[in-house]
């Protein structure tokens, strides 16, 4: 048997992953990139957290921090990342390495570039198994790889194991990635845009597969995506990120059905609804996300926010804190009074895009 899993120390009731006030900064030639700026969240086993936000909002940087994959020479990571009862921030590389792939596994957006082009798929899965099961011989690891390929729904798994990634279709490749991620039965799976590179039908299959596997392995899942449809389909909780900060956080019901942040409104009303005129009822967010080297003062969203003026000059000066909506655990970071947020959502947003 391998060393006991970190999950053994977790109190049965506490969330498997708890991130507190995570900050990630990169030192670059152009200046300091504040890619993640004080983000907190938690995921329990058996539950799925969706992280959404536009490109460059710090979603991937957050997940790589959880895996301890940032280069310490150029990156400053602070805050707390509790994995199975252990804070991994500042842990020596050798310790974190033992968690990677065993307790926390990750799947990436583009499975073609994420798999090594020169090694057969089965061998890459077997390798992931053997690192954390040194007692397993080559043969046993290979059997395990084939078993996993079978489990994720790849036909003729024994033959497929001998093939190279380029011989797989996109969907099959992502299945193979999932097989590799789950080969050590991890407690936490981070899926960074796992379906973005796939066409819609395959997307649905992969999401179903993830849901099935979550049932079976009872793992915690972080699902990173641009796609609010995906989030509403599979997530239990949602974290909305903008410019490295959390702007809204709550259950799917709260964030997608009663959103309270103008940025979330923007995301919702820029996605065409399936019922109705695809163009007429959209309200896209104007402008582009800011550079994370020069984050706008105050609320980072203010240059693009239609309501920035409704708060006097506060939105321009003061970073809004993430506060609970009265009487709930639904968190929103906006200076608009709760009353007004409710009213504006009901009057101006709820009729537009998928928000309908």
């Amino acid at each position: 048997m391998a060393a006991p899993k970190a999950s053994a120390d977790t109190p049965a009731d506490g969330p498997y992953l708890r991130v507190r006030d995570l900050r990630v900064r990169f030192r670059t030639e152009d200046g300091v990139v504040r890619a993640v700026d004080g983000v907190s969240f938690a995921v329990e086993r058996g539950r799925t957290l969706g992280i959404v936000g536009e490109s460059g909002s710090g979603k991937s940087v957050t997940s790589l921090a959880v895996l301890g994959l940032h280069d310490p020479r150029r990156t400053e990571v602070s805050g707390e990342i509790w994995v199975g009862g252990r804070n991994i921030v500042g842990l020596p590389e050798a310790e974190i390495r033992r968690l990677r792939g065993r307790d926390i596994a990750m799947i990436f957006q583009d499975p073609l570039s994420a798999l090594h082009p020169y090694y057969p798929v089965g061998r890459q899965i077997a390798e992931a198994y053997r690192i954390h099961h040194p007692e397993a011989n080559r043969h046993a690891a290979h059997r395990r790889a084939v078993e996993m390929l079978d489990r994720v729904g790849i036909p003729q798994p024994a033959r497929r194991a001998e093939q190279y990634p380029h011989e797989f279709s996109g969907g099959m490749r992502q299945r193979a990635m999932i097989a590799m991620a789950l080969v050590n039965d991890p407690a936490l799976l981070i899926a960074d845009e796992p379906t973005t590179a796939l066409d819609v039908t395959v997307q649905a299959q992969i999401l179903d597969l993830l849901a099935d596997l979550q049932q079976e392995f009872h793992s915690a899942i972080i699902l990173i995506t641009h796609d609010l449809g995906v989030v509403s389909q599979v997530a239990d909780d949602v974290l909305v990120m903008y410019a490295g900060r959390a702007v809204e956080h709550g259950s799917v019901e709260q964030v997608l059905r009663q959103p309270q942040h103008p940025y979330t409104w923007g995301l919702l009303s820029s996605v065409p609804s399936l019922h109705g005129d695809p163009n007429a009822d959209l309200l896209p967010i104007p402008g582009n996300p800011p550079s994370l080297i020069n984050i706008p003062p105050g609320c980072a969203f203010h240059p693009r926010c239609r309501y920035a003026d409704h708060t006097g000059t506060r939105s321009y000066r003061e970073v809004p804190e993430l506060r609970p909506v009265a009487g709930t655990n639904h968190l929103v970071a906006c200076h608009l009074p709760e009353e007004e947020r409710r009213r504006r959502y009901a009057e101006e947003i709820a009729r537009v895009g998928v928000a309908r």
Partner: protein, 332 residues
């Protein structure tokens, strides 16, 4: 695989024929009569009769196309050169006789090719080992003092011509300090130690300078590979650094380096004129150069063809190797 090989070989053959035709053609485009040159400098000795005799002896009196055909046939089945009483037998692989001193070209090649082979293979070992390890180390320690030193040195090395570096080595290591003696080629079959010690200077000179190019190439390849998604995957699996670098990064980064090394090797085997000249070796390159200056047609043909064979063979080998290493390359 077979189809691929046959296609490659046919292409190689076509290339070789084209090279031989062009070389042959160019030689006759030069408005010099080799027979006149051979006959001597003083006009009075060279009567038209004597020139005609020489032409007959060398087979220069026949039409160019016939000469070309004879030459090519000689390589495979041997031939008789010249006609009349001065005709000579030349067994396969016949490359003709030197216009200058009548030495069979095959013998000249047999004498000078090992010199070039010795220089090039030894230097290649130096530049591959040195260049690739420096490049890899500096990629892995990117931004450190070691990396900067390596980048700086290899920039100097890559822009330094051997014409300068070779004599510099000679001055410092031979003439000034006497650490080494001026190299004198000894065949490896006669005395391996003497052979190796004569080779130290050219191996180092050529190997060191080329290692600069290879260090830069390896560093760039490695850095590019390290930023690939599959490296992130390897790390996300929990692989230790050594396995990430060795099994995953190196395997991908080294492939294009092997390719370029193969092509370089092919090109160098055709002769390393400057290295040979600087260190006083009579290798294939120097022989070819002298022959060209002397309009010694058979030697020029032989050395150019040989160089082309090396280049073409290296190309075929590299293609096959690439297909073996990278499963994405399809043969056919």
């Amino acid at each position: 695989m077979l189809r691929f090989l046959v296609k490659k070989l046919l292409l190689a053959l076509t290339t070789l024929i084209a090279v031989s035709v062009v070389t042959f053609g160019l030689f006759f485009a030069v408005p010099n009569n080799p027979a006149e040159l051979m006959c001597g400098d003083s006009k009075n000795v060279c009567s038209p009769e004597r020139i005609a005799m020489i032409e007959r002896r060398m087979g220069l009196d026949k039409p160019i196309v016939t000469q070309y055909g004879d030459f090519m046939r000689g390589i495979f089945v041997g031939r008789t050169i010249g006609s009349g009483p001065t005709a000579r037998e030349c067994p396969a692989p016949c490359l003709g006789f030197s216009f200058r001193n009548d030495e069979p070209v095959t013998e000249i090649v047999a004498r000078t090719l090992p010199v070039t082979l010795s220089i090039v293979f030894g230097a290649a070992v130096v530049w591959l080992v040195l260049g690739v390890s420096i490049g890899m180390a500096s990629a892995l320690r990117r931004g450190t003092a070691l990396d900067k030193l390596a980048v700086g040195t290899s920039l100097v090395g890559a822009s330094m011509p051997i014409l300068l570096f070779g004599p510099l080595l000679l001055i410092v290591l031979v003439y000034e300090t006497g650490l080494l003696t001026y190299p004198r080629y000894t065949p490896i079959t006669e005395d391996p130690v003497a052979w190796a010690s004569a080779m130290i200077l050219p191996w180092f000179a050529l190997g060191f300078l080329n290692s600069a190019t290879y260090a830069r190439l390896s560093r760039a390849q490695m850095l590019e590979t390290l930023s690939e998604d599959f490296i992130r995957t390897a790390r996300a699996k929990g692989l230790p650094k050594l396995a990430v670098y060795g099994r995953h990064a190196l395997r991908a980064a080294i492939t294009p380096i092997i390719t370029i090394a193969g092509l370089d090797l092919g090109a160098y085997l055709g002769g390393t004129v400057i290295t040979e000249t600087v260190f006083g070796f009579t290798g294939l390159g120097k022989t070819a150069l002298n022959a060209a200056l002397n309009l010694d047609m058979p030697i020029v043909m032989a050395t150019v063809l040989l160089a082309a064979v090396f280049v073409v063979t290296a190309n075929v080998l590299v293609d096959v190797l690439y297909a073996v290493v990278d499963p994405r390359v399809r043969l056919g």
